[in-house]
């Protein structure tokens, strides 16, 4: 019994236990002494009982089969009983060995699946970077947030002004458009803040800003930031070609191969 204690294992099923016992014998399944195997199996099941383990029904069924095989072995061939339903030539020993061989193959296959499972955990699929084919950028080199931010800075000067002055409208967008056009006609690179330098009210700032947006929309002016966080500059838009090319030359793309943009 002590031998069992050391080697005690829980088996998934009777076939698993039988395979283990065969392996312990270090013989080929086909050459195993079934009588001896039956004895060991039954001892094992007895042990499980003594240890008060739940014994699955399958173990008991297998134990019964093995007892039967064992008892048959003890009789001379011609006295072996033919069990009802057992066809001629169907030897229960052979049937058991066949089942064991089959089970072992699947157990081995399961082992291979397990290896593949472990390998797959380390197989990473390339997920290509997200590409987007955007229409080439409009002549808008500053994002809306830069603009909003800029306006915001100017508006701050008027936060304390009574908001009622909004209704005392003295400025029209068309007037401001004219002012801006005149200003940039004189020179390029007019600083954003210059447009608002003379503003006397929050309303005037807003109207000037709207005028500027309008001019951008009408492609009369372009705005650009010489460098990140630098002040925005406004210039006259280059003359529009008669038939604008479908794809205005984008800024020199660092990856000339593809006009792809990574998101």
């Amino acid at each position: 019994m002590s031998e069992f204690k050391v080697q005690f294992e829980i088996f998934e099923g009777p076939l698993d236990l039988l395979l283990y016992l065969v392996k312990k014998e270090e013989v080929d399944i086909y050459e195993v002494n079934l009588t001896k195997l039956a004895t060991e199996f039954i001892n094992y099941v007895d042990l499980m009982r003594q240890l008060d383990l739940d014994i699955a029904g399958e173990f008991l069924v297998m134990a019964a089969t093995l007892m039967y095989i064992k008892s048959r072995e003890l009789l001379p061939k011609d006295q072996q009983a033919v069990v009802e339903g057992e066809e001629d030539g169907e030897d229960p020993r052979w049937e058991l060995i066949r089942q064991l061989v089959e089970y072992k193959k699947f157990k081995d296959a399961a082992g291979q699946l397990q290896e593949m499972e472990a390998t797959q955990e380390n197989v990473y699929r390339r997920t290509a970077p997200k590409l987007s084919f955007e229409a080439p950028a409009q002549r808008m080199e500053v994002s809306i947030f830069d603009l909003v931010n800029a306006v915001n800075v100017i508006l701050k000067r008027f936060v304390t002004t009574d908001s009622r002055d909004i209704f005392e409208e003295k400025w029209s967008v068309s007037e401001k458009i004219e002012t801006i056009v005149n200003l940039i006609r004189e020179r390029t690179g007019v600083k954003f803040s210059e447009l608002f330098a003379a503003a006397t009210s929050r309303t005037e700032v807003v109207v000037t800003f709207l005028a500027m947006l309008e001019l951008i929309r009408l492609k009369q002016i372009v705005i650009a930031q010489p460098e990140a966080f630098a002040e925005i500059e406004i210039s006259q838009a280059p003359p529009q070609p008669v038939a604008p090319p479908p794809e205005p030359p984008a800024e020199p793309a660092p990856v000339p191969e593809l006009n792809l943009r990574m998101n």
Binding site: R126, S172, S174, E214, P256
Partner: protein, 240 residues
Amino acid sequence: MELKAIIEAVLFNSQKPLSPKELRDVLSQTADNSEEPFAKHFKKTKDEELITVLETLAQEHATAARTFRLVCVAGAWQFVSQPEFAPWIKTLVGEKSRPGRLSQPALETLAIIAYRQPLTRAEMEQIRGVAVDGVMQTLLERGIVEQVGRAEVVGRPVLYGTTPAFLEYFGLRGLEDLPAADELRKIPVKKPEALLTVEPGLATAPPEQLSMQEVAPRETNPTEATSESRTTAPPEPPTE
């Protein structure tokens, strides 16, 4: 395990171009966290070594002359496809092509919503100084903004906010990524109570009036507003 192979594998799986510094970080973090004994060898890989390896890799891929290359753009390395395959790649990735760009007024309104959400239309109009009905329709249709509730004031006007699609459109990780958010948030608007005094007609102005408001908000001289501003500024730029 060769450094060159590791670098290739890392770049092959990267969603964005990687600088030598970022590559060094990957090497050193892996050395710290992985049980892989080889990983330790590359804990302190020098920049020069990395650059040499990257250039060798680029050379190898150029020689292999397949459909992709390893290139360095603005100091960051990435695999890119050769330009002649653009038509097919465009078909592949173009399926969910983003709709046309947003108009300037839409962007401006969007900026206000982004920084001030949740807020009502009246509040937007207060900041922009013009009606926002047209642009709001665009923004709602595009799923960039949505109703997020109702203000607890008389009339219970709808409150608007941005959607995750907004973040995606601008490639933002979150609202906290918006530039200079604090400043725009500071612009005062009249408290919601004031909304009640706003002429309802302002927010639901018919199209021919919109043009006037868009351009010349709150004109005191009606003649000037009608004659001038309508000719220079259409209500919503038709292209967008």
